[in-house]
Amino acid sequence: EPEVTQTPSHQVTQMGQEVILRCVPISNHLYFYWYRQILGQKVEFLVSFYNNEISEKSEIFDDQFSVERPDGSNFTLKIRSTKLEDSAMYFCASRRLAGGAKNIQYFGAGTRLSVL
């Protein structure tokens, strides 16, 4: 069964450093998302991406964040200068554009980001 894959599974970085989290969405999906979950809190939407541009972003997704689809398979989240409060699980998700299951988002296993 196709799945969303995320790398790395755990990323440790120093405050102020740049990190790039990588995702390979399901191959026939055209809508991509990043969410995060701070320990003990709920899963929060960060950004959605379609047709090579951001379609919606949350207040969390400030100028320190960016997303990119550098090729036909990868979808990345970059945090330019990490802060302690960026420590969280980051989940990538994808969904179809049309069809009966178009509203269902499928999630990767996540990347645990630890900012020291």
Binding site: S55, E56, Y106, F107
Partner: protein, 113 residues
């Protein structure tokens, strides 16, 4: 911002019995609802969903009920199995735009032998 609420942080049920997980929402623009199951160190796994034009959707042991007037949905698992022990998240989306998901805080289900 508590647009989706799961008021029970945990639920314990005996194997073979019914598990009922509840979710309330406040945003009347939500028109699609999903339940996800999550094990530790894994991502949310899609379980079942329902459109706002329906009031019930069933898939094997899992049934989701939607009461739009009460802005309430519930997930029924019957019979419950030990492998169902996980955190269950309710999520909702609005048609249009990016269909971002708004999640509840989750309910930890423990199915005991």
């Amino acid at each position: 911002d508590q647009q989706v609420k799961q008021n029970s942080p945990s639920l314990s049920v005996q194997e073979g019995r019914i598990s009922i997980l509840n979710c309330d929402y406040t945003n009347s623009m939500f028109d699609y609802f999903l339940w996800y199951k999550k094990y530790p160190a894994e991502g949310p796994t899609f379980l079942i969903s329902i459109s706002s034009i329906k009031d019930k959707n069933e898939d094997g042991r899992f049934t989701v009920f939607l009461n739009k007037s009460a802005k309430h949905l519930s997930l029924h698992i019957v019979p419950s199995q030990p492998g169902d022990s996980a955190v269950y998240f309710c999520a909702a989306s609005e048609e249009g735009g990016g269909n971002k998901l708004t999640f509840g805080t989750g309910t930890q289900l423990k199915v005991e032998l």
